[in-house]
Symmetry: C2
DNA sequence: TATTGTTATACTCTATAACTATA
DNA sequence: TATAGTTATAGAGTATAACAATA
């Protein structure tokens, strides 16, 4: 059990190393056509919450509008998202998922997702996979609080 | 409970987005003097397993020797690690933690670690922090299998 | 011939600064 | 004046390719 501040600092320190190393490794397993992590994050958000502007995505993801612009441009170039001017505000451009974008998001043959799932099945028990699954929403809440 | 392959694919997909977004956010919370994630990883390994060569660190961390060279150079410049030629093999240079490197590794006032710990205490219950703590070794095993 | 380490170069992701157009 | 989006530039982290020294 975690019962004092020093233990929380230990968990924080391990968290940083563990997820940092894991992400580096995950990046190396991306297939040539797989959407990158920032790209997948945008696709997932558009799928979940409907269309919104690049500035909205940047604010929500705590990324600079310029960085989001780069991600957006790559997705649009490949036809995974569509851009339509906001009829009520000439400055805004609304982004939405295309059919191809929806498919890319849920593509189970996606190399990244497949190799992660295979490694999980090979090295973790069902109970351990469930423990990881339960921890993900907690990590997401933690991210929101940072 | 996780009971079929499709569920594992779902967990894999969420894992990728969650840890990817979390790491991006963690990077933003690094203080000016804090060691970076790759740097901390090297310091932790030297602390745990004693001195070894840059090639050893690269192999173990699944990083190219050139990338490891960059990380090593930064650490040495700041006096956190020491380089001593291997007496039995003229090609190798053994790396070891200096006193300053050991302090940097365990520095609890480290801005990164502190802000993660504060966010954890503020947004997660003790039981939830314990759940995250339990999941970390599982994520580390997963990384090893990738 | 294989390994250790280095230098040079480039790619991905992200940031800051400066600009234009619209509100 | 504030906001949406763009362009230009830079930094961190990582990669591949080519090389020197040693085994």
């Amino acid at each position: 059990m975690i019962d004092d501040d020093s233990d929380v600092l230990d968990v924080a320190s391990e968290l940083r190393i563990t997820v940092g190393s894991l992400v580096r490794r995950l990046r190396q397993h991306r297939g040539p056509d797989d959407p990158s992590v920032p790209e997948t994050t945008v696709l997932a958000r558009l799928d979940r919450d409907g269309s919104c502007s690049a500035a909205d995505l940047a604010r929500h993801g705590h990324v600079s509008p310029q960085s989001m612009g780069v991600t957006i441009a790559g997705l649009q170039e490949r036809g995974l998202i569509a851009r339509t001017p906001d009829p009520t505000d000439g400055r805004r451009i609304l982004l939405s998922l295309t059919a191809a974008g929806g498919e890319a998001l849920t593509d189970r043959r996606n190399h990244s997702t497949r190799s992660i799932a295979e490694a999980m099945s090979a090295t973790l028990t069902a109970a351990e996979i469930a423990a990881v699954s339960d921890a993900l929403p907690l990590l997401d809440r933690l991210r929101g609080a940072l």
